[in-house]
Assembly symmetry: C2
């Protein structure tokens, strides 16, 4: 049975029962600057929900989604593994007690000195999608396990967003040979179905394409033991998503049917693990009209694209906003950040309905912002401090 979160209006996200702790904390505290509050218990619930569906697959939390120490520490205690993008992220995981054998160095673009450092720290699993990357790994992490990242182009995703990482089928199978000839242990493949894949059924075409390459690799004589299905696990941003256990179980069912007996399966949820565990508290700085004839108001928040809301680029992610005046009549608003940068506009092509009574000083909550916010924040653009983070 598939359960979806219902969406009835602007406040539906706040009705989600698991956000009650966040609501209470936000209601009882003042914040002097934009602040992300993360409910670590909610992360634990999500880990358990995903794990219940993923079964024997190892969860490698994508640390880049939110590297807060409290999150990493909790996930270590739950038995999570980790997908790290850099030496910095590996250091965070180790500092919270993660064992090196549970950490994969999943960035296909690694600095040689960082590979050597990771190898010395005990990391033995690395991603690659190119000859030169395998050469670096062979030199600085000799004998390690490597998986080859694939481009699986069956979705309607934009070309540039899917091609930065991975290589095509022929190159991938050739790279397995290259890895072996360099003394590495080529154990399998990884791919990425696409960020925010809202329903399990959307995985099927990608998994079919992946299975074809997987079986071709085996037919070419490679003893493939690791299938890394990457991320793509969704968070609720206003459009219905499938509940995590059902979602993960449905993906695993497809994998079992298409791939048969694979020794190790890895999944790398990031957004799907932590987004819904976080809420940003900020404030309205200004509401204005540019002209007496303007239909839209402009609403300027204390947070913008360069202080935490980078994923509004191209209006890609449409966050859920809550204000104390949401029972008042609504009108369309262009939303922007506080910096003197004309690119720091959040929503303009599709204006956001906000209360007509909204004014400077009003608190605004931005729901489900636990992933990909705090780390995108700039160090001090326009002299504003980075997004503050509080874990509860």
């Amino acid at each position: 049975m598939t359960m979806t979160y219902a969406v009835a209006g602007a406040q539906s996200a706040s009705q989600h029962p698991m956000s009650a702790r966040l609501d209470a904390y936000v209601a009882n505290n003042e914040f002097d600057r934009p602040t992300l509050i993360v409910d670590v218990d909610r992360v634990e619930e999500q880990f358990n929900a995903l794990k219940a569906g993923l079964g024997r697959a190892d969860i490698h939390y994508a640390v880049k989604a939110n590297p807060a120490l409290e999150i990493i520490s909790r996930l270590v205690s739950l038995g999570s593994h980790f997908d790290a993008a850099s030496r910095g992220e590996i250091e965070i995981c180790l500092s919270q007690g993660a064992r090196p054998e549970t950490i994969s160095f999943g960035n296909t673009i690694k600095r040689p000195a960082d590979i050597a450092w990771a190898y010395n720290a005990g990391i033995r699993l690395f991603a690659a999608d190119a000859d030169e990357e395998l050469e670096k790994i062979a030199e600085h992490a000799p004998g390690s396990d490597v998986y080859i990242r694939l481009i699986v182009e069956v979705s309607q995703a934009d070309w540039p967003l899917t091609r930065k990482f991975g290589c095509d089928k022929d190159t991938a199978i050739r790279l397995l040979d290259v890895a072996k000839s360099l003394g590495l242990n080529p154990v399998g493949f990884s791919f990425h179905v696409g960020s925010q894949t809202r329903k399990a059924e959307m995985w099927e075409p990608s998994l079919d394409a992946l299975a074809e390459i997987w079986h071709a690799g085996k037919a070419a004589g490679h003893d493939l033991t690791l299938l890394n299905i990457g991320g793509g696990f969704p968070a609720f941003y206003g459009e219905a998503i499938q509940a995590p256990t059902d979602y993960a179980a449905a993906v695993m069912e497809m994998i079992n049917a298409k791939f048969g007996d694979v020794a190790t399966i890895m999944a790398e949820p990031g957004r799907g693990m932590v987004a819904e565990a976080g809420v940003i508290a900020c404030e309205v700085l200004l509401v204005s009209r540019k002209s007496d004839r303007d239909v839209h108001r402009w609403v300027y928040l204390s947070i913008g694209r360069f202080s935490g809301l980078a994923e509004t680029e191209g209006e890609a992610i449409r966050y859920q906003f809550e204000t104390p005046r949401d029972n008042d009549a609504m009108g369309p608003c262009i939303m922007a950040g506080p910096s003197c940068d004309s690119a720091d506009v959040l929503y303009e092509k599709r204006p956001m309905p906000l209360p007509l009574t909204l004014k400077a000083g009003d608190r605004v909550l931005i729901r489900n912002t636990g992933a990909y916010t705090s780390t995108y924040s700039s160090v001090c653009f326009n002299g504003f401090p980075p997004l503050d983070v509080v874990c509860i």
Copy 2:
């Protein structure tokens, strides 16, 4: 007479005589992570060159372009004034000895607490473009001077980029009245001609539109004494620009002709003050092809959109890259940053010619990156540290 910098090839920027100090420093040092090196003497030369053309206009350096303490300190010693976007930037200026009466709080989106703080610190000149902003200023900085920011829409610039700041003519003149009724001192107008306006003649249509509003304001009985012409002063990114003294003198000549006797003229160069004083040293992390059939190589650098090169968004600014192999044959490359983010691509629509022999570990210099790089850098996206800054 108008002098333009000639552009003959990829290395022309390095031939610019004023970058010799930077070249020597870069050649004699190793950098363990992407590093911006700023030649503060070069900033001083640029200040003097702009000042020679701007004459009696006050230069308010746009601190957001680069708030490095050494730059601010040098500009204080040269008699520069400052345009600050936030409390944080005002604090930086004051810490380097700037007098409060030389600092304008130029952001039209200010937090009430920051206005009050600035007023207590002695700041008496504020920007506004809306009723609510004037109300905040009147409450927290009573009696202060304010200037109204205008939208001047005569260029071919994209609509959203020109409309975040400012208001139309009728609103602006009404706001002068509002300011007066709130006990503030409405002294004039500001506008922005558009970033990277490469030649002085490109200012003329905007200045004509601005002059019409200016004279309408005076005709409405307002004693206007301050004209803030904003920024737009260009830096060299590969396309010819007019030399700074000639450029500034030509702009001032137009202003004198169109506006007559204005008591105070402010100019706010940021990019035009510091961009050419900086160079970023980084390295190639990977060169690859996604498929045997690919025409383009992918070149991954140790710096990307989230660690300093934010202005490559939409491929808006096309930086000049230098490598030790620039005498070798060239071929087209898609360029990307080191993060596991598919949006972290620098140039793809217009691939960049780079040496066919380029490989991981090669040093890459990115010219004229002294502005709008270090502060855009994220705190730790993907676990990478922010762009390092060294002032020489």
